[in-house]
């Protein structure tokens, strides 16, 4: 038995010791003496969150298929254990072999949301690895990262030796043999990173100088040597039906956030909503084949024993073989008492029919994501959903017995007026009216309409990357306006409204479009005890304000400033496939309230077709 890194008394003291003992079902066991490369994959948040992440599951499976590599895992120790580890000098350890993270060749983190940035520092601190890449020695692991936040990794770029841009299935099969070769030859980390920078999708932040203008904006990003690419192009998998996918993912003993089989049916999205970063950076839309998905669904259910399967994608309704897939799953799962969950379905006759089969109508709710309250605003953000779509979908559902509706909105999107804000209670009221128009004996008690709003953060590589963000006060004002108006509606007893924390949004806004000047502030926040900022109970706004003040960082520069159309962005060093010119056009069209057709209707020349010949881009080529 592998000796656990934590002693019995510690495991009996901390909350949920199951987070730290490994030994999960389907865990890969290897002998570290039999491999050349040791990789520790990290999701910098608590175990239950990290264990639910598909990306790491794919990479874990892919790395461990290599005979020369052993991939293990680590997650952020919860603050209770963090304190004990600091007091007793216990080094951060991997779950599989329960051995120090510092002894690995690579420490790879996935960056899924900005609010986990302080947890990057926690991981490095507990592992005994210097925060800044420049301070590390040959004895430290190569610290790398991937995931959506790496499309603007600049605020944390100084903490990483290597950044992987794009889908992980592609370049590790080049990177890892290179590492092995350099290690065997006794070459330095610096030599390895220099050579790695030539591999597709590999960005080495230390090999670039960022020059600034006097006003604080970026002047240019200069490669330090001639052989370093000016821009790093993301990698994508062109044939998603012929690639790595885990058929026996890990099954934790304690309940993870996502306690089910996740079947990723496609990547990318044809819709082109202008606020949505995922819809831009994961282009082009590529589907997995029906055969692939059926095969994996069966194998994954058998190998995990999960009692639920979910389809994962940005917009499941757009998957071209959805009816066939759903029919198959319903038949297979029904015989075996397995539940099916279908997120991100557009509510129409097909969806209602499927939901009727797989859910308990009494308990389930209809979900609509209008994202904005008026048609003009929905046109500005290119969300192709009309009031008629919503009312006809809801009406049909109400007649079928549903009486709960969830509505997702965003407040503070570019060009928003108070009229648009007021559209949120008005749309909620219209849906309630549609319910009460149904004769009393044909409906199911009172309707329950739950609207929720998040505050909009402009993200890199979207048409709104130039847009100013609302101030904290403005967010609050708009939320109160919705709330107060909601209370005055005729159907107010059927309506409810919730909104996100505006302070967290401000920090997210700074980090999302930030630059390398922010790294010092992040270190200050962490050193003053700030981490687990994605958790409301641990997020401490004042610590952030203090850190920005300490390092002369002007919050408004990053958040409320409207960027000049010709401004050089910190993330211009990355080539995400979509052209800046395309995004500019989209921004201008948003201002004018003009919609852009989706990729299936028409190619809008976003730039992807030039780079890759696959997915929706080819489907359209006629």
């Amino acid at each position: 038995m592998t000796k656990l890194a934590l002693s019995h008394d510690i495991l009996m003291t901390v909350e949920k010791p199951a987070r730290y003992i490994g030994n999960e079902v389907n865990m890969t066991v290897k002998n570290i003496d039999d491999v050349d490369i040791r990789i520790c994959m990290c999701f910098p948040d608590v175990y239950e969150v990290g264990m639910s992440h598909l990306g790491i599951a794919i990479l874990y499976d892919m790395f461990n298929k290599r005979e020369d590599t052993y991939c293990e895992r680590v997650y952020s120790p919860w603050p209770d254990l963090h304190k004990i580890m600091k007091e007793r000098n216990i080094p951060l350890f991997s779950l599989e072999t329960q051995s120090p993270v510092k002894d690995f060749d690579f420490l790879g983190m996935t960056l899924q949301y900005e609010m986990c940035y302080t947890n990057i520092l926690q991981i490095l601190d507990l592992a005994g690895i210097p925060f800044y890449a420049k301070d590390r020695t040959e004895d430290d692991p190569i610290v790398m990262c991937g995931g959506p936040c790496t499309y603007n990794v600049e605020p944390v770029a100084d903490f990483f030796d290597l950044v992987y841009i794009g889908e992980g299935e592609i370049s590790y099969d080049v990177l890892l043999p290179l590492y092995k070769e350099y290690k065997a030859l006794g070459k330095s980390k610096e030599e390895f990173l220099r050579e790695a920078s030539h591999i597709e999708g590999i960005y080495i932040p230390s090999l670039y100088d960022v020059l600034y203008n006097e006003d604080g904006t970026v002047k240019s990003i200069e490669p330090k040597y001639e052989d370093i690419p000016r821009r790093v192009k993301k990698t994508i998998v062109l044939d998603l039906s012929n690639t790595y996918y885990p058929d026996a993912p890990l099954v934790p003993f304690m309940r993870p956030i996502n306690d089910r089989v996740t079947l990723e049916i496609q990547r990318g999205c044809i819709r082109g909503c202008r606020f949505c970063q995922a819809g831009m950076i994961y282009r082009p839309n590529r589907e997995r084949s029906l055969e692939f998905l059926k095969d994996y669904a069966i194998r994954m259910l058998k190998n995990t024993g999960h009692e639920e399967i979910t389809l994962s994608s940005l917009s499941s309704s757009d998957y071209s073989k959805l009816p066939e897939l759903v029919d198959f799953l319903i038949k297979y799962c029904d015989e075996r008492h397995i539940n099916i969950s279908l997120p991100s379905l557009r509510i129409d006759a097909f969806a209602l029919d499927v939901m009727n089969k797989v859910q308990d109508i009494k308990k389930s709710s209809l979900t609509f994501a209008p994202e904005a309250g008026t048609q003009l605003m929905r046109d500005r953000i290119n969300k192709g959903l009309t009031v008629d779509d919503i009312l006809s979908g809801a009406g049909e559902a109400f007649r079928g017995g549903w009486n709960k509706v969830k509505l997702y909105f965003m407040l503070g999107q570019p060009f928003e007026t108070d009229e648009d804000v007021l559209g949120i209670p008005e749309l909620s009221e219209l849906i309630a009216n549609a319910y009460y128009e149904i004769p009393k004996d044909q409906r199911n008690g009172r309707v329950n309409i739950n609207a929720s709003a998040s505050f909009f953060v402009p993200k890199p590589f979207t048409p709104f990357q130039w847009a100013p963000m609302d101030t904290e006060d403005e967010f609050r004002r708009k939320a109160y306006l919705v709330n107060d108006t909601m209370a005055k509606m005729h159907n107010h007893r059927s309506l409810s409204f919730q909104y996100h924390d505006e302070k967290t949004t401000v920090i997210e806004g700074i980090l999302a479009r930030g630059d390398r000047k922010l790294a010092k502030a992040l270190v200050s926040v962490y050193e003053n005890g700030g981490f687990f900022d994605a958790w409301t109970e641990y997020f401490d706004y004042q610590k952030w304000l203090d850190a920005f003040k300490e390092h002369d960082i002007d919050i408004d520069f990053y958040t409320v400033r409207e960027r000049d159309l010709d401004e050089v962005f910190p993330w211009d060093v990355i080539d995400a496939g979509v052209d800046k010119e395309f995004l500019k056009k989209e921004y201008i069209k948003a201002k004018e309230g003009v919609v852009t057709p989706n990729c299936r209707e028409q190619c809008n020349a976003c730039g992807c077709l030039k780079l890759w010949r696959g997915g929706i881009c080819l489907e359209n080529k006629n």
Binding site: L11, M12, G22, N23, V25, F253, H337, N339
Partner: protein, 266 residues
């Protein structure tokens, strides 16, 4: 398909069974509720013909005897499960053991319940434990406690104050202690070692002998005496302070009252 191969019962009625298992090593830190969920997944992986409840979220029909506390190992856990069809006990055990996917959780026994037999949860009346020390630096403590053991057990009554959520009640625990002895015993074995030994007659590996208190205590919904509570009383009787964190507690088995008023294994 799997039902065809396994179906040897003909009627529609379900088969009530009792499964005995061992849970050791790192899995001692997995809580009771997580074990319940994990068993549901194990049964699915094993592709056995377990019975489900009706409704939109069907769940397997199973229940467990006395929950095992976090940090305690056991080779005497029980769950009751209902099946639509079963094969031989040995085949059922092998299927489930192949599906636990861990050496630290293994089924040791599988039998059909007799007509009218009480559920494990309701039937449990006593349990046997072995308590040793997590570190031999504490050995002196056990040796001192051992010296006071006879005098402790010779008391007519042992009154303790039991704290409940609402009140404190005084309780005599002497009648709840059926046996307790001190000896040097081999450290407990891991689940897979016990399973290999019981099921296939494999030799148990050599292990060190360590100072151990073995005890047989009243258990169940009424008159439950926890082994660590008992040991704490013995310690305080011998004027010694112990911290439960020093202890390695291992449940050996659980018992029910039989027709003759005796106690037999569940």
């Amino acid at each position: 398909m799997l039902a065809d191969a396994l179906n040897y019962g003909e009627g529609e009625s379900v088969l009530k069974t009792r499964i005995k298992y061992a849970k050791t090593g790192p899995l001692q830190y997995i809580g009771h509720l997580d074990m319940l969920r994990s068993f549901q997944k194990i049964m699915r992986r094993a592709e056995v013909d377990i019975a489900y409840s009706n409704g939109f979220s069907p769940h397997q029909i199973s229940s467990f005897a006395a929950p095992l506390g976090i940090g305690i190992t056991s080779e005497g856990e029980y769950m009751d499960a209902e099946f639509n069809s079963i094969s031989s006990p040995r085949d059922m055990i092998d299927r489930i053991n192949a599906a636990t996917n861990t050496p630290y959780l293994k089924v040791l026994g599988f039998r059909e319940l007799k007509e009218g037999e009480k559920k494990a949860m309701a039937a449990v009346a006593a349990a046997r434990y072995q308590i040793s020390l997590r570190d031999d630096k504490y050995n002196d403590i056990f040796l001192k406690m051992k010296d006071g053991l006879d005098a402790f057990l010779n008391q007519d009554e042992i009154r303790i104050v039991k704290k409940t959520k609402k009140s404190e009640i005084e309780l005599d625990i002497r009648p709840l202690i059926y046996e307790c002895e001190f000896s040097y015993k081999t450290e407990h074995y891991e689940a897979f070692e016990i399973a290999d030994h019981i099921l296939d007659g494999k030799k148990l590996p050599d292990k060190d002998s360590v100072p151990t208190f073995s005890m047989f205590l009243s258990s169940g919904s009424e008159n439950n005496l926890k082994p660590e509570a008992f040991l704490a009383e013995l310690a305080s009787f011998t004027s010694i302070e112990i911290d439960p964190i020093m202890l390695a507690i291992h449940r050996i088995d659980m018992y029910k009252k039989d027709e003759n008023g005796g106690l037999t294994s569940l």
